[in-house]
């Protein structure tokens, strides 16, 4: 019973990791890193309570 639960938890971890890996790859394919980099390189004054 315990071993079964452990196995099912292991499977869940694997599928969750796979899901987010696919999501990450989709973002990569869409060119999202470029946008993220653009944002991160500039100071967002609004974000830090200025302006």
């Amino acid at each position: 019973m315990k071993a079964e639960m452990k196995k099912s938890s292991g499977n869940t971890t694997f599928f969750v990791l796979l899901f987010f890996l696919v999501l990450w790859l989709i973002g990569l394919a869409l060119g999202e890193p470029t946008r993220v980099l653009e944002q991160a390189k500039s100071i967002c004054l609004e974000c830090i309570g200025i302006g």
């Binding site: 971890t13 973002g27 999202e32 946008r35 993220v36 980099l37 991160a40 974000c47 830090i48 309570g49």
Partner: protein
């Protein structure tokens, strides 16, 4: 173990804020590392920050989603959510306990002498509300006349942003001082409140407000690296309750989303080897086998 944790936390502070050339350049780090996700809450507008903050980036992508879809670029946050999910599913809230700069600050503040108070359990649901409302719903749905949303959490709440970016940027760029208004004052008040609260309570921001902590908490039960309870070895003595910085009863709710995996229960409290650190189900610390090894080492050291 706690000394090691402190060193690891300090190392992460420097890894995430490694650009010390900002006083010379007068600007923040512009290099390619900024495409890497910071595991903990670390503002990317901090002049020394070398990575991007997942919560800040996610809001930025959500608030501009209409423009993105109109221009057929489809920047919907998949890359950032993917990073966050991979980190969460691998480490869960280990990140909060070991790699978050703002977590370290709260740990240090709590070490200051003074009367200590617990955080009401009801407040711990607040972080999920902050994540869902301030990071997802409001940036997506509330737009101005140009169709742009706002980074609600960063703009109105985040004390980490005020500490790491708001204050340093105002010091670094004197011209900015003319633009300061109630928004800045509001953020300073939140930072001051969090600082005082961290002095009297353990990790209050992580437990009640942090949206990143809320996201990672969803994975604590299934993460690849996690703490597990050996129910047969546990006697229910409650020693793990007394040392827990986030006031959880580990033996009653192993895998709780509140646990920041500081390992204090495993290394400092449990004498029955009932708590074990596992990676993909394999024990690597604590537990019966490891305790025997540690005891042997301790005996050998004592003999020396």
């Amino acid at each position: 173990m706690q000394k090691t944790r402190r060193w690891v936390q300090a190392l992460w502070v420097f890894l995430l804020n490694g650009f010390w050339g900002f006083p010379m350049t007068g600007n923040l780090y512009q290099g390619p590392l900024k495409v890497v996700c910071s595991p903990g809450l670390n503002c990317y507008s901090c002049p020394a920050a070398t990575t991007y903050c997942p919560i800040g980036s996610l809001q930025q992508l959500f608030l501009g989603i209409r423009f993105s879809l109109q221009s057929s670029t489809y920047y919907v946050g998949a890359f950032v959510l993917g990073w966050m999910g991979l980190l969460g599913a691998t480490f869960g809230r280990f990140i909060c306990g070991w790699a978050c700069p703002f977590g370290l600050l709260q740990d240090l503040l709590f070490k200051l002498p003074g009367k200590k108070y617990s955080v009401p359990r009801l407040f711990t649901y607040g972080k999920y509300i902050f994540f869902f409302v301030f990071v997802v719903v409001l940036p997506l749905l509330v737009v101005d006349q140009f169709g742009m949303g706002k980074p609600w959490f960063c703009k109105y709440v985040c004390p980490a942003g005020t500490l790491e970016a708001g204050i340093p940027m105002v010091l670094l760029m004197p011209d900015l001082r003319q633009t300061l208004g109630w928004l800045y004052v509001n953020k300073l008040i939140i930072l001051a409140a969090c600082t005082i609260w961290s002095w009297v309570s353990s990790r209050p921001f992580c437990r009640t407000i942090c949206p990143l902590g809320a996201f990672y908490a969803l994975f604590n039960r299934i993460s690849l690296v996690r703490l597990e309870l050996d129910e047969e070895a546990c006697t229910g003595c409650g020693a793990c309750h007394a040392v827990c910085p986030v006031e959880i009863r580990f033996n009653e709710m192993p895998g709780s989303g509140e646990c920041i995996n500081c390992l204090r229960c495993m290394s400092d409290a449990c004498t029955f080897d009932a708590i074990q650190l596992t990676v993909a189900g394999y024990g690597i610390g604590g537990g019966r086998t490891n305790r025997k090894t540690m005891s042997r080492e301790k005996s050998a050291n004592d003999l020396d």
